[in-house]
């Protein structure tokens, strides 16, 4: 089970952390956010990192999932899990409609199209006052429960989200190492060659786009019930950029890189808050710095550096051994 060694490792860490550090805000509360971000980042990483596409509008799907849950449970008394499913169905439809024309574009054009889409969805959320409560958002979202077990405390939310996050990671690791995963990566490597190997590149791109959108929708629904309140501010252009940053900063084409990026970008603002007014400036500087000096991402870059260090040490030992012997 060498393939999943890392997965078991992080599973143990995630599940044990609240036990080792009980009642800790940074584990219990911020950790739950990190979990949601992991679900989002891991899905987006399949699209951006492995398949080589771009999306600057994924916050829209997070928002559609959240608002679907919010509206259906508060205004139409849907069962929360049914509302979540309905949200995912809606996202499935929207993502399929938008993906086909959008993914025919490449590079900056693709970026701009997804950007435009994301902003339009956000504006609709703000403007449809009657349905969504407008810029003030909507609250009183009922509690989510599993067979009567109410998820109504921080620690319960932590574990529920952690388990779903681990499932999402497991999905991602499985996909990467399989025929569809190789098809994704082939599309990134060379669309011409991929087609020549019998891969329908358009379908491949659309499928991974829709998959990442569905994960975002799911995370959005969880978010709505966790916060019991949603407002359009959580689903804007900046959050879309944050998501892309998680994928890129952590390291593209690496599930663990996406996890790393998600965790980093969840905790970084908490850390930067102590710098108060300098927070935005420092954040921008860090973003630029990492992308300029470690474009392969922090996780991939750092693991390469550690790998090289280990290799060099091993070589030194071998040289020393051969000289002594």
């Amino acid at each position: 089970m060498k393939r999943l060694g890392g997965f078991y490792g992080i599973s143990i860490v995630f599940l044990l952390l609240p036990v080792l550090f009980p009642d800790n805000y940074y584990i219990g509360v911020v950790g739950a956010f990190a979990g949601l971000h992991i679900i989002l980042a891991v899905g987006l990483n399949l699209l951006i990192g492995y398949c080589g596409q771009i999306s600057l509008g994924h916050a829209a799907f997070f928002g559609i999932g959240a608002y679907s849950s919010a509206i259906l449970t508060t205004k139409y008394s849907f069962d929360p899990w049914l509302a979540m499913l309905a949200g995912m169905v809606l996202v499935f439809i929207i993502a399929n409609i938008i993906a086909r024309p959008v993914l025919k574009l490449k590079g900056h054009y693709l970026a701009m199209a997804t950007l435009g889409f994301g902003i339009i969805v956000n504006i609709i959320l703000v403007q449809s006052q009657d349905l969504t409560g407008g810029p003030d958002g909507m609250g009183d979202i009922p509690v989510l429960s599993i067979f009567g077990w109410n998820i109504d405390s921080d620690i319960r939310w932590y574990y529920v989200i952690a388990i779903f996050a681990l499932i999402a990671v497991w999905f991602s690791l499985n996909i990467v190492d399989s025929r569809p995963g190789r098809a994704l990566r082939a599309v990134h490597g060379s669309e011409f060659a991929a087609q020549m190997m019998g891969i329908n590149t358009q379908n491949t791109k659309v499928n991974v786009f829709v998959f990442s959108a569905l994960l975002a929708s799911f995370a959005g629904s969880l978010f709505a019930h966790q916060q019991s309140f949603v407002s359009p501010d959580s689903f804007n252009f900046f959050f879309s950029i944050e998501l892309v940053t998680m994928v890129v900063l952590g390291g593209m084409a690496s599930t663990y890189g996406a996890i790393f990026g998600a965790i980093l970008l969840t905790y970084l603002p908490e850390f930067l808050v102590i710098f108060e007014d300098y927070e935005m400036l420092i954040f921008g500087a860090i973003l630029m710095g990492v992308m300029i000096f470690m474009p392969q991402g922090l996780y991939v870059g750092l693991s390469q550096k550690i790998g090289n260090l280990a290799k060099r040490r091993k070589q030194k030992r071998q040289v020393a051994a051969s000289e002594a012997g």
């Binding site: 900056h108 970026a111 435009g116 011409f192 300098y278 400036l281 973003l287 474009p295």
Partner: protein
């Protein structure tokens, strides 16, 4: 109805001029370095804010404007030198994140220096309205449109009729070939970024008397300027200008006749339509990928 139309046209062309200048800045940087500069809007903001500060410090208007332009040009060139050049050859996503990071950094700096307040700027030649039928125009509108036209003409003259301008174009076509004929590519790129920053700063200064400016005023402007560039055809300077004016007018008409809440959505819907139907924009060229 007709006078409303005229009013909306005036507003539209004024705003459109700002979009045109921002879009032109995008086009210049894109042509020179294949980079979409997401911090272009921040050039506009910094130009406006600096001009306000210099003017408040007592400098006469013209000096404040020149000072603001100098500050912004310096920032534009620094962006190239310290962020874009070291990352040459990076993927599209990476470069996007870098310029987005730059925009966040510049906004963060602006937040530090100027806080969250809104700042105003006295109009260049007073606020006495001019009447055109039953539509009103402020003198500042004329300044915006007029100076924009002037700047556009200078930029076109620069690229089409000066050796330096042609050298910049050469760099965007083929850096290696340009170097081989003796063009200093780095200097040309610095020039491009500086020029782009100047245009952005001027846009900010021109429009600050009409719409107040603040630390985050650049975001939407940048995005819409980018939209203008795409509408006109990415990389086509004239297209960017036409795209900007067209975008401004369409936005104004849409806000006036349909709904002002969805005004911003108009710009982005247009972009999606352009990208779906004719990605090369109104005036762009189609490209072929060779296998």
């Amino acid at each position: 109805m007709l006078d409303q139309l005229l009013q909306f046209l005036i507003t539209g062309i004024t705003v459109g001029s700002v979009y045109a200048l921002v879009g032109l800045g995008f086009a210049i940087i894109y042509n020179a370095s294949d980079v979409v500069n997401f911090s272009q809007g921040e050039f506009v903001m910094i130009g406006a804010m600096s001009a306000v500060t210099f003017s408040t410090m007592g400098m006469p208007l013209i000096i404040a404007m020149i000072g603001a332009v100098i500050v912004t040009v310096f920032i534009g060139m620094s962006l190239y030198k310290f962020a874009i050049k070291p990352a040459a050859g990076a993927s599209v996503v990476s470069t996007i994140i870098i310029t987005i990071g730059a925009s966040i950094l510049l906004r963060g700096a602006a937040l530090l220096i100027w806080g969250k307040d809104f700042y105003g700027f006295p109009a260049f030649s007073g606020e006495e309205p001019i009447y055109l039928g039953s539509a009103t125009m402020l003198p500042q509108n004329l300044w915006v449109i007029g100076i924009t036209a002037f700047l556009v003409l200078i930029v076109l003259w620069f690229f089409n009729h000066t050796l330096l301008g042609k050298a910049v174009i050469a760099c965007s076509c083929n850096k290696v070939a340009a170097q081989l004929v003796g063009v200093n590519v780095t200097r040309m790129l610095l020039l491009s970024y500086g020029l782009s920053a100047m245009l952005g700063a001027m846009a900010g200064i021109l429009v600050a008397p009409i719409t107040f400016t603040s630390y985050d005023a650049g975001i939407m402007l940048g995005l819409k300027g980018f939209s203008a560039a795409i509408l006109g055809g990415m990389g086509n300077p004239l297209g960017a200008i036409a795209g900007g004016i067209l975008l401004g007018v369409l936005e104004s008409l849409g806000a006036g006749f349909i709904s002002s809440g969805y005004k911003d959505a108009i710009a982005f819907t247009i972009i999606l339509l352009v990208l779906f139907i004719r990605p090369s924009g109104l005036f762009g060229k189609k490209s072929q990928e060779r296998v």
